[in-house]
Amino acid sequence: MTDLSMPRTRAQGTAGKTALRWLLYVLLGLFALYYLMPLFVMVTTSLKSLEEIRTGSLIALPRDVTLEAWKTAWSSACTGIQCEGLRPYFWNSVLIAVPAVILSTLLGALNGYVVAQWRFRGANIIFSLMLFGCFIPFQVVLLPMARLLGLMGLAGTIPGLIFVHVIYGLGFTTLFFRNYYVTIPAELTKAARVDGAGFLRIFWSIFLPLSLPIVVVTVIWQFTQIWNDFLFGVSFSQAGTQPVTVALNNIVNSTTGVKEYNVDMAAAIIAGLPTLLVYVVAGKYFIRGLTAGSVKG
């Protein structure tokens, strides 16, 4: 376990070092401000009444804090005829996101493992092709995909949405894992092969445990992409299978109705909470030096 900062001995640091460390924290803090700015606007707005928003400055602190908007967003905002807020849609999103994230991550890990550690002729070409797939604009796949889903009988269903998300997540998950696995010494695979472990066993017992940081990254990516996806969610769902983003969109985007910014903001934050939760939980596994001590040289 190495860190680039000086080893911390009993009494930490001299004056220069302390100053440097302060600078570091100040820098980190400044960036935190940059990142927090929009959240500040969103949170304050969500705590204001509509009246205050209409009359006051949009980016000022609320005069009277009210949680009304949050309540509305969660349980009574209209998303069409139903006025039950985001609540009913959460479950759809969970049903879509969780399996899709797990499947695409697992497949990506396997693919990356093959491409990085079991190179065969053409593996790089296959990898490049898969990777290039990341760039296909989703708008163009919408219509043919709709047709195929219809043919497969998956139109408007949750499995259909899972399928779509897995397919278009594969490029990225494979990319992430492959690029992580190429840095793992090939000797490990060799040792395990001699030990009698087969392809899958090596993957499961040796590589997966080594992959924590990249699993975190991949899960963060996939979960965010899938949870926040709107285009597929709106196109390949039907009444009853719509994900939370469609509900959020319905709350936020009214063309000719009265705009309730406070509810919009609260709804957006609520819709983002599961993703945030994933960040916090998964973040614990950003561990250093999993390969340490494995091979010499």
């Binding site: 060799k190 092969r193 001699v194 066993r201 001590g293 494995s294």
Partner: protein, 365 residues
């Protein structure tokens, strides 16, 4: 019995570089084959080829009489200790060692027993719950050994398995490996740079140089009758003295003249019946040059030499003198009174001399 390992005309390239050239080796069951050779000569590569971890570029390789070309490493029934250890970083020491058994479906009780046995043998019991990253170099190496030793394969492959151990432990391990070899009648291919290991363990030694086999033989053959200058020079520490000499046949015996610094050439007589060219390289090991009076035997002959350097090394003292234009080392007992700059009477055991052709380096006698 069919050879357990049979390598025929094996070639191995990395890209355009030929690493192994026309290797032919065969091992009978129970053989202990030690591979030696300079760093980078292809020893590890050869082990990798045997294990099936690197594809071979030519020739055939069979284990237990079965061609191995399309057999994957896990089906070759081999155990291997990697020069680079290759421990599983996320597993504890115990798991590193038992992983192979677990994969093969060995039952838990046997696993535990084996683990216990091996751990005690390798003196790593207190470390079983550690991760590889929390071990010292030598401890890692022992874990790597342990991973192989719990197995019971047709063939063991050891790649410098003791290089990071202290002398004491190394001796113990050596003994254990020897025991393992004898009790299990296991077949072993073993790479080492330690000459004593090679000598004491091997039933057969292969000397490799630049990917080409130089000599295959028993330790005694290799040591006493090196096939060429390279083997002569390579085996033995300090190395065999290789001294240019002129020979003259004299009846059935041979007169050998060696230039001497600060004097006339030494002339020594080899009583064996040899047919040699006029110019040869004469090979004589340091231990076959002793202080006069400390060596007895038929072929022993004495000559005074100028001592250039005296190097005490615990049990022995080495003395260096220039002969035939070369620095010639003699191994004297520790209590010698030899001093640099003085003349010293040395005893040469001419019955041990090897002769090599000056041009090809091949052995002549």
């Amino acid at each position: 019995m069919a050879p357990i390992l049979d390598i025929k005309n094996l070639y191995k390239n990395y890209g355009a570089t030929e690493i192994l050239k026309d290797i032919n080796i065969s091992i009978e069951p129970g053989d202990f084959l030690v591979l030696v050779g300079p760093s980078g000569c292809g020893k590890s590569t050869l082990l990798n080829c045997i294990a099936g971890l690197e594809p071979i570029s030519g020739g055939t390789l069979s284990i237990g009489g079965k061609d191995m070309t399309h057999v994957s490493p896990k089906d070759r029934d081999i155990a291997m200790v990697f020069q680079s250890y290759a421990l599983y970083p996320t597993m504890s020491v115990a798991k590193n060692i038992t992983f192979g058994m677990k994969v093969r479906g060995v039952d838990q009780a046997t696993q535990d027993a084996k683990l216990k046995e091996v751990a005690s043998l390798l003196q790593i019991e207190p470390l079983l719950n550690r991760r590889p990253s929390q071990l010292s170099g030598g401890q890692r190496q022992r874990v790597a050994m342990g991973r192989a030793l719990v197995r019971d394969p047709k063939l063991f492959l050891f790649d410098e398995p003791l290089s990071n151990l202290d002398a004491k432990l190394r001796v113990e391990m050596r003994t254990e490996i020897k025991k393992l070899h004898q009790t299990l009648d296991a077949s072993i291919v073993y790479v080492t740079h330690d000459q004593i290991e090679a000598m004491t363990l091997a039933t057969k030694i292969v000397v490799l140089k630049g990917g080409v086999v130089q000599q295959i033989g028993t330790p005694a053959e290799i040591y006493n009758r090196p096939a060429n200058l390279f083997v002569a020079d390579f085996m033995g520490s300090p190395a065999m003295n290789l001294i240019p000499a002129r020979v003259q046949r004299n009846g059935t015996s041979t007169q050998v003249a060696i230039a001497r610094a600060g004097g006339d050439p030494i002339v020594l007589t080899d009583t064996r019946d040899l047919h040699l060219p006029e110019e040869v390289i004469l090979g004589l090991r340091p231990e076959d040059i002793a202080e006069a009076g400390f060596r007895a035997g038929a072929g022993v002959q004495e000559a005074a030499c100028l001592v250039d350097m005296v190097e005490p090394a615990g049990a022995d003292t080495y003395v260096v003198s220039e002969l035939g234009g070369k620095q010639v080392t003699a191994r004297l007992h520790a209590e010698t009174s030899a001093q640099a700059g003085q003349m010293l009477n040395l005893a040469f055991d001419m019955s041990k001399v090897s002769y090599f052709a000056k041009d090809t380096g091949e052995r002549l006698n």
